[in-house]
Subunit: 520 residues, 2 copies
């Protein structure tokens, strides 16, 4: 059978289970585009900007539990996708970047689009593979897949010179699924130490990260441990996915601001760290500790993110003598009242929690507008909560795109701040192109509200007009309804609780993309 | 006098002439924001996305002839700005990135926004400076300024940990203007060789780059040389700035596609290369040469971009015995007829050239829609033509922003393809916020039209529906009129020559931002 290098690469990846490619191709990737075309089962999703493609691949992996591919054009394509790769990298999400490069001979000529591609891709990848031969592209696909699936998940970038992609191969065979690395074992001594810590007196907190929070089963077992020992389960402020809502074990979230997190953890005597690391604040502030473990609190590192968190939890249950099949305490469904009067973020969450259907996906990057959500989300219908994991804003819309591609039978809600939404607003067009079932709520407060908070906290002095202008995204106010319609997504504005409620109810009762601009 | 580290840095830069800062700040840059606030003469321009900030700094420098600063937030801020930094780097535009980093102690804690900042910034900078002490920030500013002003111009990134920015300094003094590097001398032997080449028989071409094309005076002198010797002057396909239009020496542009460029240069016996390098194609294609110098053509490298192109031109005039004060042949103004009938790109250019006022700035990234422009631009009113220099699309709108900031009394026209425009569409909001005098024309062909051309050229086989979908940005068609209005820029659509003409005329007769969606 004759095939091109691009065919060998993509058919090998497809055989391993890579079924979606989020693409923004250029001339050097044309062979990859037509190779995807020749694979019936592989879905290609066009993004108008690479940050949409990389964020969507992240969202896809969080729901599908396996990597998607991105298709990126040379160094600038990686640059445009870098911020959302950063977010995925911080969270340990599996992802495979297919990056086209100039043909090898052409590279030496230093054409205008030549750049330090390995530098920019390497700076955000766990693993960078530069394909050397066309014949080796099946093996390169296998290496890339195994790398991406290395626990908890890795950003793998595969650089493909154009001449390898267009090479004709005779008798090439598709690479089989490679052996996949397993999570590293948890030390028995760490389990013993954690059991002792949980049996000790005083306030005990189990801090958990992304490898734990997305799995309803793990959270129920932790709920049993909490009920039996009096320990509290607290999740990292931002994790890839949290299984939440009625019928699931509740879980608290670590506060975002350092002072509030320190208050929240105050008096903790024992901290058991599971699938994450000891907590640190997002930013440093003059005269505030960045390390959030209270003085005198003992820390037990039970399992790092790349370790076997399942075995760690089983070890705790066994060491504490808890029946893993006992009924864990779970949240009950509470349907909030319909909101009324002038709209604010809390009323939006009230309405979202009223209407979000069973098994929905919530991609949330609401920044300061998220603060009211915790009153409603724990008792909403069961849903998966996806968050901004690496702090680089502009992730929520692309993640919603990818999540909706991975979960076509589930409703996706994207709740997003207006400032962050503008980084990757092109996502809306992909929602329209693919007719994705996503309801987007934009919290339009016309401000980088979080920076107004931070400005005071970092002690930057009395801000004048020019400084305040840098934190204000009004003048002119953006009209997200028009922007959405301009990209093919139907949209409407709400300024009262009643209006929001009507729009949210209608949007949850239809399929396809819709945007609500919540003027708050 | 007491000041912060941020004050010392910014006041030093301001003293050297850095008067504009294109900013997208985050928490780690709050001290820089308030330090700018305290400098009356420094203009801060907010961008909703960093690619707008970096592209705007590029456009500013092309018109102002000196660097602006950008203000970028950590590694992700650099990532978002990377593609337009690539474009500026390829063109040798002076630019200073001020990049906030975590406080030094905080960095060690590996907080969520920690990344390989030096890696991502270093991969697109000529020079990366990491500030080490608050007291040294004046000297760091001087190093950064001198680095940026190193001929022909360099991307300089200055990384500033937050704790240095907030440090209080007693008795610090603002750094004076450093000595600036001069262009490297041109070898006498290179001039002699070039003079001999110009005196030789056969077809002779002087290929010129960005250090030459932006200066009306240099182009006139080259026009004298062309008239005296019969040599042709051809500019690189894409340069930072070309002084064009009536009253200026005409200049041909090298064709974009390799085959067309090879045809254009066919039969050249002598190529003299001035302020650029011997031509290569953008992309490689199977069985087509990437090196565009015809077989048997002798190449004389007269001056590289970093060398003294003025001295090189004077050397030619002297060696050829040409009076530099003779009257050079210049283009005459031709006012095209008003376009009529169904709109196409050529008719848009016809109308643009009719109405573009004297001394306008044209930021052009029209891709396939630029092909008709050359019939009208050489005889338009005199203007500066700014182009996409590094091949990474999404530069034209940001460059228009920065150019308009640098040239507030000049009309800026931004002529842009629809696909490229969506990469940095957030530029429109900054145009509205700053009330910039920019008329934007979007050539809405609803396609990555150039990729449809390239798909055949790279021999990628018969494209199927999925492949063609990746090159098509219709379904849904974007409505740029709505998108623009959603960002505060008034806009209208044209589908006929008459409609375009009416809109273009009106837009050129008023001040402030306006967008015309040319449906072609």
């Amino acid at each position: 059978m004759s095939m091109t290098g691009a065919d060998l690469l993509l058919q090998s990846l497809y055989g391993m289970g890579v079924e979606a490619c989020f693409a923004n191709p250029g001339t050097s990737e044309m062979q990859l585009v037509t190779a995807i075309d020749r694979i019936d089962g592989m879905r290609s999703v066009l993004a108008l900007f690479e940050g949409v493609a990389t964020g969507a691949a992240d969202g896809y992996a969080r729901i599908a539990g396996k990597p998607a591919a991105t298709l990126l054009h040379l160094g600038p394509g990686v640059g445009n996708g870098w911020a959302n790769l950063h977010n995925a990298r911080r969270a340990g999400v599996p992802l495979i970047n297919l990056i086209g490069d100039h043909a090898v001979d052409h590279l030496a000529l230093d054409a205008p689009l030549t750049s330090d591609l390995d530098g920019v891709a390497g700076s955000v990848s766990h693993n960078l593979i530069r394909a050397e031969t066309a014949e080796g592209l099946g093996e390169a696909a296998a290496r890339a897949y195994a790398s991406a699936m290395t626990p908890p998940g890795q950003i793998t970038s595969l650089v493909l010179p154009a001449d390898l992609a267009w090479a004709e191969l005779e008798g090439a065979t598709i690479a089989p699924m490679p052996p996949l690395p397993k999570p590293a074992a948890v030390e028995d001594s760490a389990i013993d130490q954690a059991v002792d810590a949980l049996k000790a007196g005083g306030r005990r907190v189990i801090l958990v990260g992304s490898p734990v929070t997305g799995d309803e089963g793990k959270l129920k077992k932790l709920g049993l441990i909490a009920a039996a020992t009096g320990a509290e389960i607290i999740a990292d402020t931002f994790v890839t996915k949290t299984a939440r809502g009625a019928g699931r074990a509740g879980i608290a979230k670590l506060q975002y601001f350092a002072e509030l997190a320190l208050d929240q953890l105050n008096g903790t005597a024992q901290m058991i760290v599971l699938g994450t690391k000891a907590p640190v604040s997002f930013f440093a502030y003059p005269n505030v500790s960045s390390y959030l473990v209270p003085d005198g609190c003992a820390v037990t590192q039970l399992a790092r993110p790349e370790q076997d968190v399942d075995a760690a939890i089983e070890g705790l249950l066994s060491g504490l003598g808890i029946d893993p099949n006992a009924a864990a305490p779970v949240a009950e469904r509470v349907v909030p009242d319909a909101p009324e009067g002038q709209l604010d973020a809390v009323k939006c969450w009230q309405s979202i929690a009223r209407h979000m259907p069973d098994n929905a996906i919530l991609s949330e990057e609401a920044a300061t507008s998220s603060f009211g959500a915790e009153a409603f989300l724990p008792t909403a219908a069961p849903f998966d909560h996806l968050q901004l994991t690496g702090g680089s804003i502009g992730q929520g819309l692309p993640v919603a795109v990818g999540a909706a591609v991975a979960g076509p039978d589930r409703k996706t809600i994207c709740a997003h701040g207006d400032g962050g939404a503008m980084y990757t607003i092109q996502s809306l067009w992909t929602m329209a192109r693919e007719n994705l079932d996503v309801v987007t709520v934009i919290f339009a407060n016309r401000s980088y509200a979080i920076l107004n908070v931070e400005l005071g906290r970092v002690g930057a002095g009395n801000p004048g007009r020019k400084a305040l202008d840098m934190l204000d995204i009004g003048r002119p106010d953006m009209d997200f309804t028009q922007i959405a319609k301009g990209m093919g997504v139907d949209a409407a504005k709400a300024t009262t609780g009643e209006e929001f409620e009507d729009l949210m109810k209608a949007a949850c009762n239809r399929r396809g993309p819709f945007l609500i601009e919540a003027v708050i």
